[in-house]
Symmetry: C2
Subunit: 317 residues, 2 copies
C-alpha cells in the first residue's frame, strides 16, 4: 500500500505501526519525501526516553535489551528496539546474527523491533537510525532502545544520540584498559556487568570502581552506577530498569540534561548538513569528480587543490 | 624550531624525521598551512605499501605489528607504524594503552611510531591519519602500518585506506558470527589467527574456511589466506610478511589494485570536502547555528528546515 505524505503524517502520529515501518524504510532509502514528512512530525517528538546500549561483541547486549524491553512493557510503556548493524562497507550486505533473535522477541507482539544497517554512503552513516528514533518518538513510543553491535566511533556517535547510555561489560574479555581503549567509558551513564556469574565479575567491578574514582565528579553530577546482571536469566534487569528511570528523572531536572538535548540536535543538524552538501558537491557532480580522481591517480593533481576547486565552484562565499 | 613551508617540503622529501613529526602535528591540529605543504608533497607520494591492521580489542594487534615491523626492517625497508586510538568524544582525552608499548618499540630507533587520535570533530574523523600516511609516503617510507584499536565503522573506514588489510582474530573471543557482525570479514586481504597456541584456534580456522567458501571468488581474485601466529613469540610473522609482499605484488599487477587506489583517492576527496564544507557552513557560522538549535529545542523549528536554510544560504546552486 502506498501512503501519501499526509497519510503518513497522520498515521504515524496515531502510532500506526505499518505507517511507522514504511516511513522508516523510506528514510533509510533516502527517499526525498521522507524529509518532508519527518520535518512535519518533528513538533510531535521529544518526549521519548532514548536508551543507547553498547559494549563489546559477545557481551550479551541483545539478550539484555530483550529483557529490559519486557520490563518497560510490564510497566505499561510502549517500547521499541533499534538494533544497529555495521554494514559491510563493500557489499552493503545484511548481517546474520540479529535476524535470528529478532523473530523471537517479535513474537511478543507489542515490542517494535527493527534491525538497521549503518550505511557507508556519503555522510549518511547513522542518518537512518537517527531518523528512526525521530519517527518512533513522534509515533508515541515511550522507550526507544538503540542497541549497537560494536564499540567503535560510529557506535559511540549513535549512542551519543541517546538520553541514557548503558555500557555493557563482561568478565574475561580482557582487562579494563581495553574498555578505556575503546573509548566508551566516558559515555556511560550506567555500567552493566553482564554474565555476572562468571569468574572475574568482581574484578571488572573493582577495576571500574577504581577508574570511576579517578574521574572528577561535581556535587550535582550523575555518578554512573555499576550494576550486575545475568541477562540469560533476566537477573538484575529490574534494578537496571529502575536505574534508567532514575537517570531520566535526574536528566529532566538538570542543566546537563538540557545541554545534552541541545547537543543531540546540533549533531543532527551537522549530519544532515553533511549529507545534503556532499550530495550537491560530490554526488550530483560525479563525472567531474571521477575525472579529478583520475588526475590525482596520475599525480597530475592533488586531492587538496581538487577539493578547493570543487568547494569554490559550489559555495557563495 | 619553526620550519617554513619550503623547509618542511624539502626536509620531509629528504626523510628528515623531525620535519615529518612536525608536519603530522600541524596537520593533526588542522593548521591551514599544512594543507599547502601536503598539496605540494602529493606528487612524491604513491609508492609506499600501506598495511591496515584491525581486529577486536585484546587480539594482540600491537605486539603483532611490532614483530611485523621488525621483519620488514630486517628486509631493508623503511617502516612506520601509525597506531590509531579512538578519542573519547567528550573529553578528547588521551588513551593509555599504546603509550606504554610505544616506548618499547621506539627504542629500536629506526621504526617510526606515532599514536594518533581519531578526533570527533566536524567530519575530521580520520583526516589526521590519512594525512600522516600521505606525509610518511612522501618522506620515503616503504611500509606504513595503520593499526586500529576497535572494529567499528570508523576503524573499517581507516583500514579501507590501506593497500593490504590484515584482520586479526583470536580463539575464544566468541564465535565467528561475531566477526561477521563486526563487518570486518569482507575487508580482509589476510586473516591472522593470533594466540594460535590457545584452545579453539583450529575452530576459528575451520569457521573462517567455511565462511570463505561461501564467498564467490572469480578466477583472478585474491583469495584471503588464513595464517596462524603467536605474536608474543614472533611465531608466524615471517610467513605473514611473505604473504603481505605477495599481496602487494598481486595488487600491482591487477585491475583490482588500480581500482582500490582510485577508491582511496575518492574517499580522501570526499573526506576533505566534507571537512571544508562543514567548516564554512557550520563552523564559521556558530552564532546562527546555535540560535537555530535553540529554536529546534523549543520545537519552533525542525532540523530539516534548518539544514535546508543553512545550505541554501551557502550554495551557489
Amino acid at each position: 500500500m502506498k501512503f501519501s505524505n499526509e497519510e503518513l503524517i497522520e498515521r504515524v502520529s496515531q502510532g500506526d505501526m505499518r505507517a511507522v515501518s514504511r516511513l522508516i524504510t523510506l528514510s533509510e532509502n533516502g527517499v526525498p519525501r521522507a524529509r518532508e514528512v519527518l520535518s512535519e512530525l518533528y513538533k510531535q517528538s521529544g518526549s521519548a526516553h532514548v536508551i543507547g546500549v553498547t559494549g563489546s561483541p559477545g557481551a550479551g547486549k541483545s539478550t539484555l535489551v530483550d529483557h529490559l524491553a519486557r520490563q518497560w512493557k510490564a510497566r505499561g510503556k510502549k517500547v521499541a528496539i533499534l538494533a544497529i548493524d555495521p554494514t559491510s562497507p563493500f557489499s552493503g550486505g545484511a548481517v546474520l546474527g540479529d535476524r535470528i533473535r529478532m523473530t523471537k522477541t517479535a513474537e511478543d507482539g507489542e515490542i517494535f523491533i527493527r534491525s538497521m544497517a549503518t550505511r557507508g554512503a556519503l555522510g549518511g552513516l547513522s542518518r537512518g537510525s537517527l531518523d528512526a528514533v525521530h519517527i518512533l518518538d513522534a509515533a508515541g513510543f515511550d522507550i526507544i532502545f538503540i542497541e549497537t553491535v560494536g564499540v567503535g566511533q560510529a557506535e559511540v556517535d549513535i549512542v551519543r544520540t541517546a538520553d541514557t547510555c548503558l555500557v555493557v561489560l563482561v568478565p574475561g574479555m580482557g582487562d579494563s584498559v581495553q574498555a578505556i581503549k575503546a573509548g566508551i567509558l566516558e559515555i556511560a551513564d550506567i555500567f552493566v556487568i553482564n554474565k555476572a556469574d562468571r569468574d572475574g565479575a568482581d574484578l571488572v567491578h573493582k577495576d571500574l570502581r577504581v577508574l570511576l574514582s579517578l574521574s572528577d565528579y561535581e556535587e550535582n553530577d550523575w555518578k554512573p552506577p555499576i550494576l550486575k546482571a545475568i541477562a540469560t536469566k533476566g537477573d538484575g534487569t529490574e534494578e537496571l530498569t529502575e536505574k534508567m528511570a532514575e537517570h531520566q528523572l535526574w536528566l529532566s531536572g538538570s542543566e546537563v540534561g538540557k545541554e545534552r538535548k541541545r547537543k543531540i540536535i546540533e549533531d543532527r543538524i551537522v549530519k544532515l548538513t553533511t549529507e545534503l552538501l556532499l550530495q550537491r558537491v560530490i554526488g550530483d557532480n560525479q563525472d567531474k569528480v571521477q575525472q579529478l580522481v583520475d588526475e590525482c591517480l596520475d599525480r597530475k593533481r592533488d586531492p587538496f587543490s581538487v577539493v578547493e576547486q570543487l568547494v569554490q565552484a559550489a559555495m557563495k562565499f
